[in-house]
């Protein structure tokens, strides 16, 4: 029996168009005399934006995920990487990306578009080596910013300046390798856009506290991705504001992601991209994954509010602060990024457990599904300690093994069986009408 009204997301078409445009812009940049660069989704993409309005990037993780979604292409890419001698237990995004590069196949058609330089930050060991190898293989310049200054709660002036000084150096490097004069006003604009897009994405996730949830996580994967592509981009910041308004409308009018929401869950780490249907399988029980620390905090920027809850971080612009200089922009950009939730637990799994329990409490969740993701050392590090912490807090938790980008590591049937057991322990049966056809 349906309880809530549902309707398709109006922003969906635009989301798809924006994503397609992003990959096409990158592909066609050279034809228009523009610049192409590559790096990770957490690279400081606002910085190269100061080189001009014709600078286009491709971020490796969403690109690797796009390949993973295409199982045939992914297998070709993974095997190409293995043929070069790379081990199967390395980051699967990286192996998909490298395979695409070796095969000279672009996931969106045509040849792999050659980047002009790599611009990266050292968020994990894979990320540092990933683009170092791309740079060596493609014989292009490479710049990497070391961000290992510890968790945000311990940030002080010296630690902040360690990152900011490297940012200043990176701008000198960019001018040198491109021959272009850097424009501070473009940097300032990009920093403002990044703050806007990442704070508004957090606001969208915040709205998912509503019951019924206006968005399900499978849908959110197709929406948060824009922030992983080019969080500094005005089009993306504007799109997130439109999306936020639509999600708010859905909340105000009780428009649900699924019609019969009974059980609210969250997941953890990147999903197995080739098997997103497991999220649809949950719906057979009237269960919905409303998000995760990953979906909320990979791109979303949050802060602790005075009442102890988590909410979207207030931007300097909202505080009335005027950004006028390069140094000011870089300091704000560094501080903003270093408080990213998903960045914190690289230093201590307990920080992640605390954040996850905060989400459980604030989003009123019934359980947690942890993806023991063999494809990502960074986000999976300490995950069994998270499981222990969540279980000790009395929150039901299940684990399933898999890999975000290598389908050979994921056992769909056993995962579904495990979901059955978990839902049964939570006291939810498969809906009668779906049980007959499952």
């Amino acid at each position: 029996m349906n309880e809530y009204k549902t309707e398709p997301l109006k922003s969906w078409k635009k989301a798809k168009e924006l994503r397609q445009k992003y990959y096409e812009d990158y592909q066609n940049a050279h034809a228009k005399g523009g610049i192409r660069w590559t790096g990770g989704a957490w690279s400081f993409d606002a910085i190269p934006a100061g080189l001009g309005n014709d600078v286009y990037n491709i971020t490796g993780e969403p690109y690797g995920a796009s390949i993973a979604f295409d199982k045939k292409l992914s297998m070709e890419c993974l095997e190409a990487a293995e043929a070069k001698g790379w081990a199967r237990d390395l980051c699967s995004y990286m192996r998909n990306y490298w395979g695409s590069m070796y095969l000279n196949k672009y996931a969106f058609g045509g040849e792999y578009p050659q980047p002009d330089f790599c611009f990266q930050d050292h968020i994990c060991c894979s990320h540092a080596k990933w683009y170092q190898h791309v740079a060596e293989y493609k014989k292009i310049p490479y710049f990497c910013i070391d961000v290992s200054v510890g968790p945000y709660k311990d940030l002080d002036e010296d630690r902040l300046m360690f990152v900011v000084n490297q940012m200043h150096e990176s701008i000198e490097w960019l001018e040198k390798v491109t021959g272009r004069k850097y424009q501070d006003e473009l940097l300032i604009e990009a920093v403002k856009n990044e703050m806007r897009s990442t704070s508004v994405w957090a606001e969208i996730c915040y709205l998912n506290m509503n019951k019924p949830a206006p968005l399900d996580e499978k849908t959110m994967y197709s929406l948060y991705v824009h922030g992983t592509l080019a969080k500094h981009n005005k089009e993306i910041a504007d799109f997130y504001e439109e999306l936020r308004d639509e999600v708010k409308y859905r909340v105000d009018n009780n428009i649900a992601a699924i019609p019969d929401e009974k059980c609210r869950l969250m997941s953890d780490t990147q999903p197995p991209w080739g098997f997103l249907k497991v999220f649809r399988y949950l719906e057979k029980f009237g269960a919905i994954s409303v998000g995760s620390l990953y979906t909320f905090g990979l791109i979303g920027i949050w802060e602790n509010k005075p009442d102890g809850t988590w909410g979207p971080r207030t931007t300097p612009m909202q505080k009335g602060e005027n950004i006028t200089t390069r140094d000011q922009a870089l300091r704000l950009l560094a501080d903003w990024n270093l408080c990213k939730p998903e960045w914190q637990h690289f230093y201590d799994p307990n920080l992640k457990t605390e954040m996850m329990l905060q989400i459980v409490k604030q989003w009123k969740l019934d359980g947690v599904m942890l993806h023991l993701n063999r494809g990502c050392e960074g986000l999976s590090c300490g995950i069994m300690e998270n499981r222990l912490g969540i279980a000790e807090a009395g929150v039901p938790v299940m684990t399933f093994e898999g890999n975000m980008g290598d389908e050979r590591e994921f056992d769909e049937k056993r995962t579904v069986t495990r979901i059955d057991s978990f839902m049964e322990t939570l006291g939810y049966d498969m809906q009668e009408e779906t049980a007959k056809t499952a």
Binding site: L372, T399, E401, S421, E424, T425
Partner: protein, 257 residues
Amino acid sequence: MITAGIDMGAKYVKVVILQDGTVKGKAIVLMGFDPLEAASACMKEAAEKAGIDPGTIDHITATGAGRKAAPNANSDITDVGAAAKGMVHVKEGVHTVIDVGAEEGRAIKIDAEGKVIDFAVNEKCAAGAGAFAESMSRALEVSLEEFGKLSLQSDKSIPMNAQCAVFAESEVVSLVHAKTPKRDISRAVHDAIASRIVSMVRRVGINNDIALIGGVSHNPGFVDAIQRSLETDLIVPEEPDYVSALGAAIVAGERNK
């Protein structure tokens, strides 16, 4: 009221028939290549023992890996739920259930009513399940029954570290070539299975009493290995391989009301 539980396991089908809560008949049949035929034969045999016509059964609940394919089932329950329900019926006071079958090992934490609080299942490793013990007994050219008893004759601990049944078999072959006595190899294999199971048990937490169910519980070498590893005695029901089918039959009764 007559209810039945059918456990469509990876290797065997088990059926338990209850009449007003009392076990009236049970049967176990090798699964083979035709699950439907095996299930029907098992149900027929159990019904004959119970002295009833299978058509008079009010509600059948299926469990096990093949529960969705069980013929004539009115409902199903997961392996975890069935094991918990059955064990609480067999023995009160159990809070940890270890269920080891042909291809899966499970550790289940339950409350006094049999409600599942937490569970863990083996993943990407067959070296913690019954099929591994069977293949190792074949490698040593001894029967499965003898294989378990041999283990009890050994007092040596030989570590086997492979994370996969196939590679573990390579370790066994190396031990054979090194002229290691069969009893010591047998103990090494059982210790390896036990260590994989115990790591899952520790993951969900060890709360006394602890029960061991599933077909592998018939193997005294395994029971000994897991008790040594946990440093405690385990409750092993008389018919450990029927506990999940019994749990399913009890659930069938609850659902038929």
